[in-house]
Amino acid sequence: MTKSSRRLLGLLIFGALAVAWVYAASRLWQTSVPSNLKLPKVDMRALVGSGELHRAEHFSLVLDLFGLAGLFLPLVVLALYATWGHRFMRESAAGPIGTGMLLAMLGIAILWMAMLPSSIGELWWLRRYGVVKYGYAEMVIGTWAALGAEFLGICLIILIVMGFARLLGKHWWLAGAPVFVGIALLVTFVQPYMAGLQPVEGHATLVQAEKRLAKKEGVGNIPLKEENVSSLTTAPNAEAMGLGPSRRIGLWSTILDGRFSEPQLEVVVAHELAHHKHNDLWKGIGWYALFVFPIAYLIARVTRRRGGMAVPLAVPLFLFAWVGLATITLPIDNAFSRRLEAEADWTALQTTRDPQAAKALFVNFVQTTNEDPNPPFWDPLLFGSHPTEEQRIGMVEAWQARSGG
């Protein structure tokens, strides 16, 4: 085969893969929310009150600044580490993979230290607004201890990447990416068993309602559980978790503490059931799989200048490339997440047919989380995994208009 025909074949394969990628992405992107749905302008001031709205705007603005620090400071730190990190190789007596693990762990450790002032500042702000309940020492010790789990995770990643790189050379990403997808599947599956879920107590009506709503959404029997977070935060939340037999709905204890009415809680439950109905956790893994291949390929390309992932010298650059690419893809990941959340909201409205409860719920979210219902455009881009509360209320009103309510 000549050089030009090899090149042509390569281009054809790349083109076919690109088409398949775009097709898969467009399939995952589709939702059941009507494409011609126009969200009306919502007067949040009338719904929440100008005092509360101002408080939420102020709270969110400062929180966003800490968020920006949390997003871009790691890039700066890891860029420096990519340049100087190889010096820590002298602290290792291990082989290439062990040394790679050490460099990766030290990179994360340095990042933790660099982020500590920003994390403390963010905690001060959250405490000021009564969103979290733990203190500074607990945070520092807790995050230090949590580094242990991060160290284990990064060691596993380095073992996979460097192990395959030593076996397959520059093509390690072809074997590594499917393993990462497998790990994502496993983590999603076992998450409900690790989350310390407990039976929901004192909400018998809600438990009955969940059964009714699950039947209505056609998702079968999905246990409703409670996650006790009351010692940590006051923020309300709920989540759909698990795959197949491990599917659960976890309600944070903070959402069951009396601040939300039963009809509002039913909307929450219907929303989480909708995630299971639309297989959103599977979609999330599919979306991750779509990105992990090109990201792993790009990392393999970038780290070649340091000798490739078979040598520990490339590990600091690997960390930087990995976090950098994850940051670049963050807006599209958030956009995907917002679409799934919007679809779950829509399905919840279709199931409960209770727009008043839905609207009250979203207003209540603003009041209990202090989050700006209509933040500046870059906020959802960088941090918004859910539609803004204004958009969610707008969807309720659009649904009402369509349903003749």
Binding site: F88, E91, S92, A93, A94, G95, L102, A109, G148, L152
Partner: protein, 238 residues
């Protein structure tokens, strides 16, 4: 007198990286998990090895090598955790790879069947000594709140006395482990003068030392007395 088939060679230069000292507990975690997993297999192998030793009068050679590698690895991991050495250890227990290294016989020796049969009971007195040796070493050398941790964090060096105390605890524990796992028939020695060689590079003599344990006793004369005020250490200490 320095003869014990299980000998700890300490070639550490007392320099410590503050960053790895600060995060030492966390850096130990992957090794801790690997040590546990390896230890489970060693436990099974040890039982089989015990049966083999009862039947043929000496341990099986493959089992001996496997357990010896585990003991070497265990030594490097605890030397790292207890700040007895600075570098991050490897995961294989490969000889000649770490500044604190256990030289263990890899060729099985003939062992008395009666002593083999009652090995667990014979180990009982060592448990008392283990407590005496280990507790002060743990209080002084374990990361975070110990004297040694603070000293290493502040000065970037490990005080020699603390280092030697930790090394002695590791040496004795390794000798107990080697005796329990039938790697040697020689009883652990509580004296810090037996089975510990300070300032002697094991790397250069690795092959011969490991293949022929008797050679481990042939250490340079200058290093034969670890208690000597200034046994030759690494250049940076002078």
């Amino acid at each position: 007198m320095n003869e014990h088939p299980v000998t700890l060679h300490v070639m550490d230069d007392l320099r410590r990286s503050r960053l790895t000292v600060f995060f030492r507990y966390l850096l130990y975690i992957p090794h801790g998990i690997w040590l546990e997993l390896w230890g489970i297999v060693v436990l099974v192998v040890a039982v089989l090895n015990w049966l083999v030793a009862l039947v043929i009068g000496r341990p099986a050679a493959p089992f001996q090598r496997f357990i010896a590698a585990y003991l070497r690895y265990w030594t490097t991991v605890y030397a790292f955790l207890m700040l007895v050495a600075n570098p991050f250890p490897g995961f294989t227990g490969e000889p000649g790879s770490y500044p604190v290294e256990l030289v263990v016989p890899t060729t099985p020796e003939k062992q008395n069947r009666l002593k083999t049969f009652f090995r667990m009971f014979l180990l009982l007195p060592t448990v008392v000594v283990l407590y005496v040796v280990l507790i002060p070493a743990m209080l002084i050398c374990y990361p975070l709140l110990s004297f040694a941790w603070w000293a290493a964090m502040i000065t970037g060096r490990m005080p020699r006395g603390f280092r030697d105390l930790g090394a002695n605890a590791i040496r004795y524990t390794a000798q107990v482990g080697a005796y329990a796992l039938l790697v040697t028939g020689t009883y652990p020695c509580s004296s810090p003068y037996v089975g510990m060689v300070l300032g002697t590079p094991v790397v250069a003599e690795t092959k011969t030392a490991v293949e022929a344990p008797a050679a481990a006793a042939e250490v340079p004369a200058a290093a034969e007395e670890p208690a000597a005020p200034e046994a030759p250490e690494a250049p940076s200490e002078t």
